[in-house]
């Protein structure tokens, strides 16, 4: 019976071969091709000139991931201690912004962070800018926030924070309450219960949160373009430029994409390794 049913996958396997595997093979072929079609490693050598972009991408994505973790973990933990009704509403509230396109959410920050934007207006009103000028002897009319790396990180954190909260929350909420009771009965105080029971058991959620924030952050191009003003180029922008932008060079673009794919594979491998170990620990 089973073998007959398994034939149902044949159309999808063909589809995957055409539109999942073949495109990746194309990326690999292009990454190792010169414009005249011959084999070359020049595309990878050329990446050296963009080392700045690589380090900037990693730096900003790591900072954004860390901030998301520092906000997301406590939030997930605090939420899990509230009543079920509250939790339900809170979950909807966290997911709701994700349903709006990230371009719209990023766009709203543009008008908040502008030189004469809402935040600067607020700082002006409460006298923060005057205070800063007095303290440091400067003569600022506004704080420059748009087109900075800080703005790009803010955009990443704002857009991807729910991706950190959700997996951590779903792991914490499933923790067996009797484990916590046992720890308390055996004399652990609140801090120790957290450090020795809740934290290690919620690690799979943390790892998948980190991946879910880091991968889109390191590969974004719209956020950096909108909030970084095109001055803070990231890996995603670099790829986009090679395909649709002025610097048309699909060979270099494919090579950078290949590197990006390897980054994702490494993230997944790390996650799977720790994730499985943790699952076993839970089962034991």
């Amino acid at each position: 019976m089973k073998n007959k049913l398994s034939r149902l996958t044949i159309p999808y396997v063909i589809w995957m071969a055409l539109f999942v595997v073949a495109p990746i093979i194309m990326v690999v072929i292009y990454a190792f091709s010169a414009a005249d079609g011959g084999f070359t490693l020049a595309n990878f050598a050329k990446m050296g000139t963009y080392a700045v972009v690589f380090t900037r991408s990693f730096k900003l994505a790591l900072i954004a991931t860390l901030i998301c973790l520092l906000i997301g973990y406590p939030l997930a933990y605090i939420m899990s201690k509230e009543g079920p009704r509250f939790q339900r509403v809170a979950m909807v509230l966290i997911m709701l912004p994700m349903w709006m396109n990230f371009l719209l959410r990023t766009y709203s920050w543009m008008s908040i962070l502008e030189n004469n934007g809402l935040l600067n207006q607020l700082f002006q009103k409460i006298g923060l800018i005057a205070l800063y000028n007095n303290l440091f002897g400067t003569d600022l009319q506004f704080f420059r926030m748009m087109n900075t790396q800080g703005a790009v990180v803010l955009g990443m954190v704002y857009n991807y924070l729910p991706f950190m909260i959700l997996p951590i929350y779903s792991v914490i909420i499933k923790l067996d309450p009797s484990l916590l009771e046992a720890a308390r009965d055996l004399g652990a105080n609140t801090f120790n219960v957290f450090r020795r029971v809740i934290l290690p058991l919620s690690l799979p959620g943390v790892l998948s949160g980190i991946t879910m924030v880091f991968v889109p952050s390191v590969s974004t191009f719209a956020i950096s373009k909108m909030l970084g003003g095109g001055t803070e180029l990231l890996l995603g922008d670099l790829i986009e430029q090679q395909f649709l932008g002025g610097a048309y060079n699909p060979y270099l673009g494919a090579a950078i994409s290949l590197v990006m794919m390897i980054i994702v594979v490494i993230c997944m491998a790390v996650m799977n390794r720790f994730g499985e170990g943790e699952e076993q620990a839970v089962m034991m």
Binding site: M1, K2, K4, L5, S6, R7, L8, T9, P11, Y12, V13, W15, F19, V20, V21, A22, P23, M26, V27, P74, L75, I78, M79, K81, E82, R88, M95, P97, W99, M100, N101, F102, L103, L104, R105, Y107, S108, W109, M110, S111, I112, G117, L118, Y158, L161, P162, S219, T220, F221, A222, K225, G236, I239, F243, L244, P250, G253, A254, S257, M261
Partner: protein
């Protein structure tokens, strides 16, 4: 669990929610602004909504977005359900490598998926151009020699990244199903088709529905993959918005945001109220 949060904990929670919602509410407020600014309030008006409804580019892209999302969701749901059943019936050794390939579009960075499909389409169109030129020289009938990316490629890309989500949510339902059910149905004289319609389908229906919903959301929300696969002839709403933010700031975007936000809010409210009601009904039945 310990059910008391201190005042500081609650304050932290409130601050995070303010952080998440303040920008959205600002967008909504300034969509009713009379002036052409997102920072200075010039009085109430509905001008931007009127402008929005008259903007042909935006109406056209909303239409494209809905069409591509609905079509790709429908196709991906059917294809994904069959594929999931097939995977379920497979031996583990064959299934696992295939599932790994299936997971690639979900795991990979969007930009890599988009770029790789873009490369494939361009390479295929080049090959097709050569083939069509040769075929036309035979003089049978004419094939178009120049194909470009457009709605067709956009649809293929959306189907490709939607199917894995359907499989992901149908798969577990299949595994929860009692294996003997299908055999029993067949023993009692069901044909394959009947067993599928009367036994398997009702069992996995919740998985199919949630898979379709996820796929639809992914499609509506996608920008990056569409951006690389739609070419210049088709434009989704997200692509149009991106174009608008690049050129000049226009409060029309605020009006779009407000309309989208209200739609999502209503949909989520309906879903949640229904779920809550069903839960209550279930509890009553148990009592």
């Amino acid at each position: 669990m310990n059910k008391n949060n201190s005042f500081l904990n609650r304050l932290f929670m409130v601050l995070v929610f303010v952080f998440l919602y303040a920008p959205i509410f600002l967008l909504i407020i300034f969509s009713f602004n009379a002036g052409n600014s997102n920072t200075v309030w010039k009085g109430f008006s509905l001008d931007w909504y009127q402008k929005l409804l008259r903007d042909r580019l935006i109406i056209q892209s909303v239409y494209t977005t809905l069409l591509v999302s609905l079509l790709s969701t429908a196709i991906a749901t059917v294809a994904g359900t069959f594929a999931a059943i097939g995977f379920y019936a497979m031996r583990r050794k064959v299934r696992e490598p295939l599932m790994t390939v299936n997971n690639i579009p979900m795991m990979n960075a969007d930009i890599v998926t988009g770029v790789s499909l873009c490369l494939l389409f361009v390479a295929f169109f080049n090959g097709w151009g050569t083939f069509a030129a040769w075929f036309n020289s035979l003089g049978l009938f004419r094939l178009p020699t120049r194909l470009t990316m457009g709605f067709g490629t956009l649809l293929i890309a959306h189907i490709t990244f939607n199917i894995p989500y359907v499989i992901l949510s149908v798969g577990p339902k299949l595994r929860q199903m009692d294996k003997n059910l299908v055999d029993a149905a067949m023993d009692l004289g069901c044909t394959w088709m009947q067993a599928f319609w009367k036994v398997i389908l009702p069992e996995i229906k919740p998985g199919i529905v949630s898979g379709a919903l996820t796929a639809f959301t992914m499609s509506i929300d996608d920008f990056v993959i569409s951006y690389f696969t739609a070419g210049s002839s088709a434009s989704t709403l997200a692509m149009t918005i991106y174009g608008m933010t690049k050129k000049r700031v226009t409060p029309e975007i605020n009006a779009i945001s407000t309309l989208l936000f209200v739609t999502v809010l209503i949909l989520l409210a309906i879903v949640n109220i229904r779920e809550a009601r069903q839960e209550r009904l279930r509890e009553k039945r148990l009592v």
